[in-house]
Amino acid sequence: MTIVFDVAGAVAIAATIMMLTRTHAVHALLYLIVSLLAVAVVFYDLGAPFVAALEVIVYAGAIMVLFVFVVMLLNLGEEASRAERGLLTPGIWIGPSVLAAILLAEFGWLLTRGSAPPAALANIGPAEVGMALFGSYLIGVELASMLLLGGLVGAYHLGWKERSHASHS
């Protein structure tokens, strides 16, 4: 029974196409978030609930919040408030809402029909992933922490240089 997989995959592809064809960055972000949520449903359907949760929390949560902050920082002023009023018209949010409603219906259906995901051979839960992650992949975890530290230092350096530049001029 792969109907959940097929519908979620179709929603992901449709949302990604809509994201690519938008002209306004905020509209594209709405569709990108729906696309990531659809991929999370696909993960759950494949028997990977831990990765599905992380996809929602880290991708659709943290990374998209970064994008939203940058888009908000980039267009301040009168033009932004006009765009804000434009966002409240139904034509903008009706598309992402319909796609997200499809995903919500799938989610409710999965919850009511029991715990096992329909398409997977077996459920690989957080315990197995954690055992592998801190067992044979321990060096990878250390490297990922170094990479994140590098990203932190790099982002801080770029922001710091720009601020000292502004104070001089």
């Binding site: 792969t2 888009v71 592998a132 990922a144 720009e162």
Partner: protein, 100 residues
């Protein structure tokens, strides 16, 4: 029944859409979002393969891709802010005049 062929097809389609976005769009925010789509599609392929062999390794690699995407997007968006302050534009063609 595990939809392994459909899973890889979905990953391939999403990756191709990301490539189209990187090549076709000129707004650098859209380019970064397309890169996110491509990374996500690569992670989807890993998870599908992990589900096929019922091993957690695919999900572990997806976690590494997640950490890499977070680091990439933080540095990338800091560069976008810097670019906007220097050129007053988000057009990627504006950076082509940059000479080191």
């Amino acid at each position: 029944m595990l939809p392994i062929r459909e899973g890889f097809a979905l990953a391939g389609i999403l990756f191709a859409l990301g490539i189209i976005g990187v090549l076709a769009r000129r707004n650098i925010i859209f380019v970064l979002m397309s890169i996110e789509v491509m990374l996500n599609a690569a992670g989807l392929a890993f998870v599908v393969a992990g589900a096929r062999w019922q091993q957690p390794d695919g999900q572990v690699v997806f976690l590494f891709i997640l950490a890499m995407a977070a680091a990439e997007v933080s540095v990338g968006l800091a560069l976008v802010l810097e670019l906007y302050h220097q050129y007053k534009s988000l057009d990627t063609d504006a950076i082509s005049r940059m000479r080191g």
